[in-house]
């Protein structure tokens, strides 16, 4: 891959710095961290692309997280990241500066704007990657994602079209350690003519769903929980541990739990210290969402369940009576003096 630095960001790795009213989203830093690692191997620049107005602290944070260049277009019309004008701007910048790679967070916004930019500049896009690497032989971006509704990871390349575009869900990649001694350039760019066919009439901000994305402890349930009423056991254990309840997709599809509780590729990515998976077989899309869990305990009746391959602790058991027993034991101990207190330790 050629690394022509004549133009800002040319031939380099681009990361879209999505922000919410000027507050840069964590996924932008997560992507910058990975882009930095890849760029160091390719000897290419990393550029953060920043539509709208963000203060100096935000720009400095992008540089500290790995950006060599920050391309800003501080047009007030872009401050709320309207999709139509942002698609115009990003497509224009891609055509003008020809980056090799363009990474975008798979937020609601990113999942709409990334395919629009990809289609407008006629290139490939891989959704919801869980791993990004560079092929040492070809220099191509290896974009790995769970695929085919089964237990497979597919690695995808964009051979002839540029840039090689990919989205990654928030929370899938670790946030990099920031290096405030890093130096970078701020490059203001002129917007192309902007269009907007969408007019916002109103915006309703809902309280954030009880965030399983940020939970330290999660007790999650799959089809093996057998009935909706057994979810009360899952919730009880989560409550006893000061954690949150999660579910796999079939339970959301059956209407047993809200979509905000769903862990997996099309739900939330989670990174708890402890995840107890009850009656979850472990479809790869589900596993994709829990890769960052520090300890995974899996409870399943089937000793061959795929989830056991990823678990730190395997319990071959029916999760319903086991949960009942655990809730009983832990509640009793809480009455004795509280979970974790020295007096109650065995």
């Amino acid at each position: 891959m050629s690394c022509d630095t004549a133009l800002p960001g040319a031939g380099g790795l681009w990361v879209l710095a999505e922000h919410d009213q000027g507050r840069i989203l964590p996924v932008a830093f997560e992507l910058l961290g990975r882009a930095r690692q890849l760029a160091d191997r390719m000897i290419c620049p990393v550029a953060a692309i920043l539509p709208g107005t963000v203060d100096q602290a935000g720009v400095s944070a992008l540089i500290a997280a790995g950006a060599d260049e920050v391309l800003t277009c501080a047009d007030p019309a872009l401050d709320n990241l309207p999709e139509d004008p942002c698609t115009d701007l990003l497509s224009h910048l891609v055509r003008q500066y020809e980056p090799a790679v363009f990474l975008i967070g798979a937020t609601h916004w990113g999942r709409t704007v990334a395919p629009r930019v990809a289609a407008r500049v006629h290139t490939g896009l891989t959704a919801d990657c869980t791993m990004l690497d560079i092929d040492p032989k070809t220099g191509l971006l290896l974009q790995t994602r769970p695929a085919f509704g089964g237990n497979l990871l597919a690695t995808i390349v964009t051979e002839r079209h540029r840039p090689q575009m990919a989205t990654v869900r928030p929370g899938v990649l670790p946030e990099p350690v920031r290096d405030t001694s890093r130096r970078g350039r701020l490059l203001p760019v002129e917007p192309p003519p902007l269009t907007n066919r969408l007019a916002e009439l109103s915006r309703l901000v809902l309280p954030p769903e009880q965030g399983i994305a940020a939970a330290r402890v999660i007790v999650s349930a799959g089809r093996g929980i057998m009935s909706q009423k057994n979810l009360a056991l899952v919730r009880s254990l989560a409550d006893l541990l000061g954690g949150q309840m999660g579910v796999s997709r079939p339970l959301v599809d059956m209407g047993w739990a809200p979509v905000g509780c769903q862990i997996g590729q099309t739900g939330q990515s989670v990174a708890p210290d402890l995840l107890i998976a009850c009656g979850i077989s472990g479809a790869i899309q589900h596993i994709a969402g829990l890769g960052q869990a520090r300890m995974l305990v899996a409870i399943n009746t089937d000793p061959e369940a795929p989830i056991f391959q990823f678990a730190d602790v395997q319990v071959v058991a029916d999760c319903v009576p086991l949960l009942r027993q655990l809730v009983r034991d832990l509640s009793a101990r809480r009455k004795d003096g509280g979970l974790g207190s020295e007096a109650a330790a065995p």
């Binding site: 395919p115 629009r116 290139t123 237990n151 597919a154 690695t155 969408l198 809902l206 541990l241 655990l326």
Partner: protein, 260 residues
């Protein structure tokens, strides 16, 4: 005024077979169902079509057996259906799919409103709708939860955002990708079935579309699957043995080490 609703056949089970050569999904007629999100797009199209007297048309790209799913859409209030079927379409990624669908929409004389499901449950990319909009040069709103106030030039929609719900006025022509449960669906009546059976259903090939073979199917796809593998396993894993009570006790110890 015309509404085009794009639908996709997906495997009805998790049992998916891969072609070892192309590493793409082997599409079979058996166990195939309409992508669940698309059922809501069909319901919206039928509802808006009957409310405003607009022509409705269902469009799909797939194997010949997809005719059955399109016939079902005709039984659910859609006026006309077109199936894009040709070996040359096979192995298309989202861009090649969007490009093919866009050619068909243009051959139909364009559309005022294009409706798609928010995503398909086999690929899970949610890319084809927005890419189709770009190929057509139409506006697009994704993850739409409600469609109201439809006029000849614009439509008012609500959609999910990262932080809540947004209501927008969208200029037509536009592509809307719709969320699950955004529109009520119902089983067709006997009269609906009879109506659907008499509705026109056409099949178009790549030649019918005048498609360039380098811009459709696997050949026209910017992305390529280079390898598939089973995910890596955890190296150190221990299994808790014993009776249920013993397992619960061991588990409690592990929990207490982490949660204090």
């Amino acid at each position: 005024m015309r509404i085009v609703v794009c639908v996709k056949q997906v495997p009805g089970t998790n049992q998916v077979y891969l072609d070892p050569e192309t590493r793409s999904i082997v599409r079979e007629a058996r166990h195939a169902v309409l992508n669940p999100y698309d059922t809501f797009a069909v319901a919206w199209a039928a509802r808006l079509g009957s409310q405003h007297g607009w022509e409705t048309l269902a469009l799909s790209m797939g194997i010949p057996a997809v005719e059955k799913l399109l016939r079902d859409s005709l039984c659910r209030g859609i006026d006309r259906a077109v199936l894009l079927t040709d070996r040359l379409f096979a192995g298309a990624d989202t861009w090649a799919t969007a490009n093919t669908l866009a050619m068909a929409v243009r051959k139909l004389g364009g559309a005022d409103l294009v409706l798609c499901g928010k995503m398909a449950i086999d690929g899970d990319t949610a890319q084809t709708g927005p890419e189709l909009a770009e190929c057509l040069g139409y506006a697009v709103v994704t993850d739409v939860t409600d469609i109201k106030e439809v006029s000849r030039s614009q439509v008012q929609v609500s959609r999910h955002t990262e932080s809540g719900v947004q209501t927008l006025l969208v200029r037509l022509p536009a592509v809307l990708t719709v969320a699950k449960d955004s529109c009520p669906t119902r089983m067709p009546s006997i009269a609906d079935l009879a109506r659907g059976a008499s509705r026109p259903l056409e099949c178009w090939s790549a030649a019918n579309l005048g498609a360039d073979p380098d811009r459709i199917g696997q050949r026209g796809s910017p992305t390529r699957v280079v390898c598939t593998e089973t995910p890596p396993m955890k190296k150190q894993s221990r299994r808790l043995e014993g009776t249920l009570e013993q397992q619960a006790a061991s588990l409690e110890c592990i929990i207490r080490e982490i949660v204090s």
